[in-house]
């Protein structure tokens, strides 16, 4: 180039680019994919070559580019002749690179077989390095151009119109039988050799161009697909954002490549608002004779030769296989690919694609462009999964949400369970105690004296504004606008389709402000649900919301001694008269400003204390210390679940699964009859939702006191259309109740509430049957007196 070797120009250009402050140059980086709106993925092998360094091995670049220039070069194609898979048969350019770049000789005697001039360079190079070229077999009747002349001058035997009939040797090439390309493979002569350098022409690497919709055109003269400049990948405004350059654009010799690449660079500069200057470097070029497409060698090869002529080396697909696919009717290139597995190996058809579809086109009797290519999908070559995962491993594999008391739980042996991204203590086993024993102990302690629950994860959403009451009446099935400041109300929230999606206690803070408690997992989605309705449907309602879930640490103080322990820490009046059931007030506990809610999920006298998160741990510590005289202990989510089930309270996600409506749970009491509308109301009036045959919630009591399996179905007589047993109900919650000393369960049962006392049969996984009686779902303290202390 410009009179100097290409390698010198490359070295100088890289040095120049490295010195430019506005250039980011990555020489160990592959463009892995091109996506919408100029988004490209780069795969950088940062430290593969420096094992043991501190640097990450791989890095994935996410690039938003104004313009992308793909200078991805071209890939040489094999020739399809019998025995082209014998070790020692290689691409002509590969043999040349081994010799020039690495000083490796593939064989002493190399036969070159080609349909184009470029392979002559391999012959000339090897010859000049002192290796033997027994013959160059040029399939073209008319032979090559200037390079052929040069080869002859070096004394190399050049045979035109000839090809390889078959390769001799099994584990290693020992020779080739040559034949007329125009014939059917009759051997004219055998030539002994150690290697075969083949070249079937060059295919531009069009993958990055094609990933995001760039189209290709068939270049008849060069027998390859190249980017169609009229149909590039386009951005949102219809603007082209990928430009192919050089060999990737189908440019041929060095001079052509340089001119084309320079034009591409200038076009990209212009498209991004720059004024390009400078001229393209000059590349020397010798006139080359035109390539002649050779898809099968010899052209009339019989079946025996065709079944040894490999197209896809990795997946063992031969010319005969693709022809069979065509005969079987796989006319679409995508179908033929999947039938034969052509191009489905790790190289994704980089070597086999064009040869394979040329054979297919021939078999179908149609031109190559009509057959088309298979789809080019990113990444260009496989990238490591670790580059995609990035830092997401070990401690930061995923975010773990922790409450202000998390450290205490961990230090006191909490057995955590995931609840969304939170980690909540399932229970706190002591010493040798197992999970079950710990849960039973925690329940007994709560029912008999005093226990604490970290309830900080519950969602807390502020709803405020002149229209807040109206909004709350739409969100919840029951009436919320009538709630008085200082009071709490349990509410149900349904989706527009009528299904129960969340529940919780709402506290009215003042005339304009409500605080909605949601389930732990529902905080973000319920907040999103509220904003969705406010922003998209009721945009003229004066309501603001704020998710304040994490502002507060919340502690459930439960048990007959709960009031006593809080009274030890406050001077405010929280007596039964001053703070009635479902009331709340602001008090100071252990010197911390707090809201205290007198609500109960466990069924005992209990309170929830909410304090700023930064004081949560201090509150917890103070309660643990003050509760010592009552034998205080923490309880986990499982004890909470069992105790609520003993009380017959539902749990979102157990009694509901996205198909359950409040009416199924006999919660008509929580559905306002006075309101004109609420989200889900109309859906619940539809025939299927109002169907009296919908399964309804009941309690289930096994006859022998055993625990029913979770999710078990109650069978009914007969079989359904699929030959399965008919069913009439299923278990939604099931536990061993330490309070009752037996298994308790809830379930949805056909006409359940009308069938009290009936016995249902539940087949178990081991083939047995468990019998359970339909009972009231409230197992413990039916009159609700315990919550009054």
């Amino acid at each position: 180039m410009d009179g100097a070797p290409v390698a010198d120009w490359i070295t100088a250009t890289i040095a120049k680019l490295q010195d430019m402050p506005n250039v980011t140059l990555r020489t160990r980086c592959m463009g892995a994919g091109v996506y919408d709106h100029g988004y490209a993925l780069g795969y950088e092998r940062v430290a593969d070559h420096t094992p043991g360094s501190d640097a990450p091995r791989h890095r994935l670049w996410r690039i938003r580019a104004g313009q992308i220039v793909t200078a991805t070069g071209a890939i040489e194609r094999p020739l399809s002749f019998a025995g082209n898979d014998v070790p020692g048969v290689m691409l002509a350019s590969a043999i040349r690179d081994y010799a020039v770049d690495y000083g490796v000789s593939i064989g002493d005697r190399t036969v070159v077989v080609t349909n184009n001039d470029d392979a002559y360079r391999t012959a000339i190079t090897l010859k000049k390095l002192g290796l033997e070229i027994p013959a160059i077999l040029d399939a073209r009747q008319t032979g090559g151009g200037a390079l052929a002349e040069e080869a002859r001058k070096l004394g190399i035997r050049v045979e035109t119109g000839k090809g390889i009939a078959s390769v001799k040797g099994g584990k290693r090439v020992t020779g080739v039988a040559i034949c007329a390309q125009a014939g059917e493979g009759a051997a004219l002569e055998e030539i002994a050799c150690d290697a075969v350098a083949m070249s079937g022409g060059w295919s531009p690497v069009v993958h990055l161009w094609s990933h995001c919709g760039g189209k290709l055109i068939w270049d008849e003269a060069q027998a390859h697909f190249r980017p169609d400049p009229e149909q590039p990948p386009r951005g949102a405004q219809g603007e082209a954002f990928v430009i192919a350059a050089g060999a990737a654009n189908g440019a041929g010799d060095l001079a052509g490549v340089l001119t084309d690449a320079h034009t591409a660079g200038q076009a990209a500069a212009k498209a991004t608002g720059h004024a390009p200057k400078g001229a393209a470097p000059k590349g020397s070029a010798s006139p080359e004779a035109a390539l002649e497409p050779v898809w099968l060698m010899p052209q009339g090869a019989g079946y025996k030769l065709r079944m040894k002529a490999w197209l896809d080396y990795q997946n063992d697909v031969k010319v005969s296989d693709v022809q069979l696919a065509a005969r079987e009717g796989y006319a679409s290139v995508e179908h033929a690919k999947r039938y034969t597995t052509l191009g489905m190996a790790t190289d994704q058809g980089k070597l086999s694609n064009i040869n394979g579809l040329a054979i297919l086109s021939d078999a179908l009797g149609q031109p190559i462009p009509q057959t088309g290519t298979t789809t080019f999908r990113p990444p260009y070559t496989p990238i490591s999964l670790s580059s995609i995962a990035g830092e997401a491993k070990g401690a930061i594999f995923q975010p773990i949400r922790k409450t202000p008391m998390h450290g205490w739980h961990a230090a006191h042996g909490a057995d955590f369970e995931p609840v969304g991204q939170w980690r909540r203590p399932y229970c706190y086993p002591k010493g040798e105690e197992g999970r079950h024993e710990a849960v039973r102990r925690e329940i007994r302690q709560t029912r008999e004296s005093l226990a604490l629950l970290d309830a900080s994860t519950l969602g807390k959403i502020i709803v405020k504004g002149p229209d807040a009451g109206r909004f709350m009446d739409m969100l919840y099935t029951n009436m919320m606008s009538t709630l008085k400041p200082g009071r709490c109300r349990y509410g149900l929230m349904c989706s527009e389709n009528g299904f129960l999606m969340d529940d919780g206690v709402v506290a009215r803070l003042d005339d304009e402000t409500f605080l909605c408690h949601t389930t732990t997992g529902g905080a973000e989605s319920v907040h999103g649900h509220m904003e969705d309705w406010l922003q998209c449907e009721w945009w003229d309602w004066k309501v603001y919301t704020a998710n304040v879930t994490e502002q507060y640490a919340q502690v459930g103080v439960a048990g007959p001694n709960s009031r006593k322990v809080i009274e030890k820490l406050t001077e405010d009046d929280i007596s039964a008269e001053a703070l009635t059931f479902m009331g709340w007030k602001e008090i100071t506990v252990a010197g911390i400003p707090a809201r205290v809610y007198r609500i109960s999920f466990a069924g005992e006298l209990s309170f929830e204390l909410a304090v700023p998160a930064g004081h949560g741990r201090a509150l917890w510590d103070a309660l643990m210390e003050a509760g010592e005289e009552f034998g205080v202990m923490p309880y986990g989510t499982e004890a909470m679940h069992v105790m609520r089930a003993e009380k017959g309270f539902i749990m979102i996600g157990d009694e509901t699964d996205g198909t359950v409506i409040p009416q199924d749970l006999n919660m008509d009491w929580a559905i306002s009859k006075k309101k004109e509308d609420y989200l889900g109301k109309r859906a619940q009036e539809r025939s299927h939702m109002a169907d009296p045959n919908r399964w309804k919630l009941v309690g289930l009591e096994t006859l022998d006191g055993e625990v029913l399996p979770d999710g078990a179905y109650a069978t009914a007589p007969g079989h359904n259309a699929n030959g399965q047993r008919n069913t009439q109900g299923r278990v939604t919650s099931t536990y061993f109740s330490p309070t009752l000393g037996r298994g308790i369960a809830m379930g949805l049962v056909l006409h359940g509430p009308d069938r009290m006392g009936e016995v249902l049969e539940f087949p178990t996984l081991d083939g047995g049957i468990m019998k359970a009686k339909i009972v009231d779902q409230v197992f413990y303290d039916k009159d609700g007196e315990k919550q009054n202390g």
């Binding site: 949400r401 922790k402 919301t545 010197g591």
Partner: protein, 189 residues
């Protein structure tokens, strides 16, 4: 009342960038009509600052006004002045439709400074953090790896980042991992 405890207890890491937890900071979510004179006056009274433009952060003496959305600001003030600041807002906005709520304890507040600060954040957030594109006074709500986060850049080149309190450990370890020596990218020169 004892001092509030932050999620990270003032943790600090020095690597390609310095990551440190700021102490307790007062934060107030203010929602209202940001174009109204009343809100403008109320913010002025409360934190001595104007209304930040879209994706802008305004800083005062121990205060800040951050643009969160077309109808939401995050106001900052000293932790123990939150109640007073909210009272000022409520008084100034009497009769208006607005929401001012204390979220000081719901957040973790981190500072990322030093030569590698831009790069550390750029590895984690889908934000163009080049010097030309992200300049002092800019504020961005975004995603930091797998969590929501928001940050602004001050004149001294320090980033101030807010995320939820529950993910403080994750956020800190995330920033720390991405600021480990050896992970230099060098893309911002």
């Amino acid at each position: 009342m004892a001092e509030p405890v932050t999620a990270l207890g003032g943790a600090r890491f020095e690597g390609l960038a310095t990551i440190e937890e700021a102490g307790p900071t007062g934060m107030i979510t203010l929602r209202g009509d940001l174009s109204s004179k009343e809100v403008k006056d109320a913010v002025k009274k409360a934190v001595g600052l104007g209304i930040p433009a879209q994706r802008q952060a305004l800083e005062g003496q121990g205060t800040a006004a951050l643009w969160m959305s077309p109808d939401e600001l995050l106001l900052m003030c000293p932790y123990d002045e939150v109640a007073g600041t909210i009272a000022t807002l409520e008084e100034a906005l009497e009769g208006q439709h607005f929401l001012a709520v204390n979220v000081s304890d719901a957040r973790t507040f981190l500072r990322i400074s030093g030569a590698g600060a831009r790069e550390t954040l750029a590895k984690l957030c889908p934000v163009d953090l080049s010097r030309d594109a992200f300049t002092p006074g800019m504020f961005r709500r975004t995603r930091m790896a797998q969590i929501p986060a928001a940050f602004w850049l001050d004149e001294s080149g320090t980033f101030h980042l807010i995320c939820f309190r529950s993910v403080a450990d994750y956020a800190f370890n995330l920033l720390k991992t991405n600021a480990l020596p050896g992970g230099e990218v060098g893309v911002y020169g």
